[in-house]
Symmetry: D3
Subunit: 139 residues, 6 copies
Amino acid sequence: MIESTTPESADTVTVEDHLMIAHSLQGETFGPAQKLHGATYVVAATFQSPGLDGNNIVIDIGKARDLLHDLLDRFRYENLDELPELKGENTTTEFLCRYFHDRFAEKLEGLFTGRLTVALEESPVASAAYTAPVGNTPA
Amino acid sequence: MIESTTPESADTVTVEDHLMIAHSLQGETFGPAQKLHGATYVVAATFQSPGLDGNNIVIDIGKARDLLHDLLDRFRYENLDELPELKGENTTTEFLCRYFHDRFAEKLEGLFTGRLTVALEESPVASAAYTAPVGNTPA
Amino acid sequence: MIESTTPESADTVTVEDHLMIAHSLQGETFGPAQKLHGATYVVAATFQSPGLDGNNIVIDIGKARDLLHDLLDRFRYENLDELPELKGENTTTEFLCRYFHDRFAEKLEGLFTGRLTVALEESPVASAAYTAPVGNTPA
Amino acid sequence: MIESTTPESADTVTVEDHLMIAHSLQGETFGPAQKLHGATYVVAATFQSPGLDGNNIVIDIGKARDLLHDLLDRFRYENLDELPELKGENTTTEFLCRYFHDRFAEKLEGLFTGRLTVALEESPVASAAYTAPVGNTPA
Amino acid sequence: MIESTTPESADTVTVEDHLMIAHSLQGETFGPAQKLHGATYVVAATFQSPGLDGNNIVIDIGKARDLLHDLLDRFRYENLDELPELKGENTTTEFLCRYFHDRFAEKLEGLFTGRLTVALEESPVASAAYTAPVGNTPA
Amino acid sequence: MIESTTPESADTVTVEDHLMIAHSLQGETFGPAQKLHGATYVVAATFQSPGLDGNNIVIDIGKARDLLHDLLDRFRYENLDELPELKGENTTTEFLCRYFHDRFAEKLEGLFTGRLTVALEESPVASAAYTAPVGNTPA
């Protein structure tokens, strides 16, 4: 690995995909979004590491796009209210960022160590993101 | 009205809004989209006329935004499969362009005469549009 | 010129630039926009012709960008209310599309014959456009 | 087919994809672009017809995306200067719009009749498009 | 609150709005921008917290959009040079990020504790941002 | 300089430009991208500092745009495989972020001290970035 020249530096790669789902949110806070509605989510996954490998990459962009696509396939065109693994969860945009992040972390085991950010854009004026380390990394 | 200098010229104004809905599509053609899913639609309405009025406008942009917003309010956060007025319809993106167009034409009566285009973007890679004259216009 | 294979076909090239101006609008219709305010306009010029020349182009993209840039230089960072050539005009987005179109048509004399569209985006949710033939063209 | 309510109306569907290629352009007009360089082209295909079919669609969006993707596969990561079928051509953005249009028209035979527009965006400030009828259509 | 699983993780929500203003900048550095001109600013506010609340949210997106909209209402269609609270300030994009940030922090008291970023896009090629903690938070 | 009110705050300015190049990548990892192909890179440079100067700026936006434009001029319309200074390098998007970053750091000497991020978007679904301190700065 090409070590970073300083501890404050970072390299990132971002890939994007999208999916269309239905869901409803529970709780007065959500007002009309308590009704069964839906969203097109544009999903961006950002991989951050403290240096590049021998191929001058953080992660292969083609591979990263394929992995993200596979991850989202489970959820495309689904009503999230009816998926067993999401039963009882409020599938807010913030929650979905965390949920996709954690599922992605499993897929990335052995393939990537660093920080992973998963961002979901739900409309031209609203988005959310979750960032946390993945892999066997102390930081 | 400031007449166009040539019959082939045109003035347009476009305003945008968005909404989030759930629906399902009927027919083998639609594959996984036959399941109940959803979408964020970015809706663009384009008003075309053959000249400008005394205020140098096609239509007041603020008024046009308000009218579009009001039009979409009926559908925000709804499951289109359960709206009485859409019962039995395949609410494809193309259909929704026509449907919003026709509802908008009603709202615009007395306010705008010319061509109206309603475009819906359902994802970063797919959209549809419908264009037709509205108001008491021969062309 | 490579003639179009059918009379209904068309080739276009679009180039973009932007500028930042101040202005005010006269008339009750404009509500708060009657106050002196401003805008960043993203300006797109579309050149349409019924075929390509011997270089397989509608117009040289680099040349078109330069011409558009030069056109807008006169107006950058100006208060349109104080430009002599715009005195007494309501400089709405629609008007500016026409105005830039006509100034551009003068610059294009001898360089381009066909249809020219000038579109101005004033915000993420509002834009306008004007289209008309330029040059010595019967259509 | 649901006939349009007026001859001036139209329904469209647009799908997008992208590809990365190398090429050079011949002729002094092109200045530095005469050197071997490259581009990411965002390709948009718009299908226009005068009405919707029994499924309320112009063309199945999923099918249209697949067809466009297949069309571009032949050209991805290629040096256009070395493709036999493009030998001797100036592969300008305008030319490529026409070329992809005509290849797409072949793929669409029996699947779509109407107008097809192929647009290529080569940068945030420059794009081109070609539009012409495809299929066995009198208009 | 659902605590973050690691101290390096973070959840964010971003909402956007826009406004149109006039102003001038003082100082030779600003060249032609010393003249009275204007801008459309696209404003993005990002709320970052170290975990989600019982509703699985950082902040209610609808509420956040309303608060941002209210914040900007004071400045819409204004000439910033004439607002008493900005007299004598160079209202650069950077300054406005800080100014909107601090006004927003006041509005958010009791509603949000965490980091707030306010970003302003002034054109397709230029933007600025300011980020700092808000609320009664040690960091 | 206006000191930040807290150590966790930051001010940033971002400017953008783009360029079109050809290149090939070495190594099985890159699959079809091992062939000579090309890209349009949208390049964003973000300047981060812990406060604003007496003009209320991080860096003059016009100056920053000019500097970025000059930096990229060396590479526009080039085949990176044939540039002497890049001989033997795998010019991945990640590498180019670092390379442009380091060249930019040289140009910025005496003009800017803080953190610099260089981000390259290679397509609508893929990008990379590199961030590190520049100038005589301890952090």
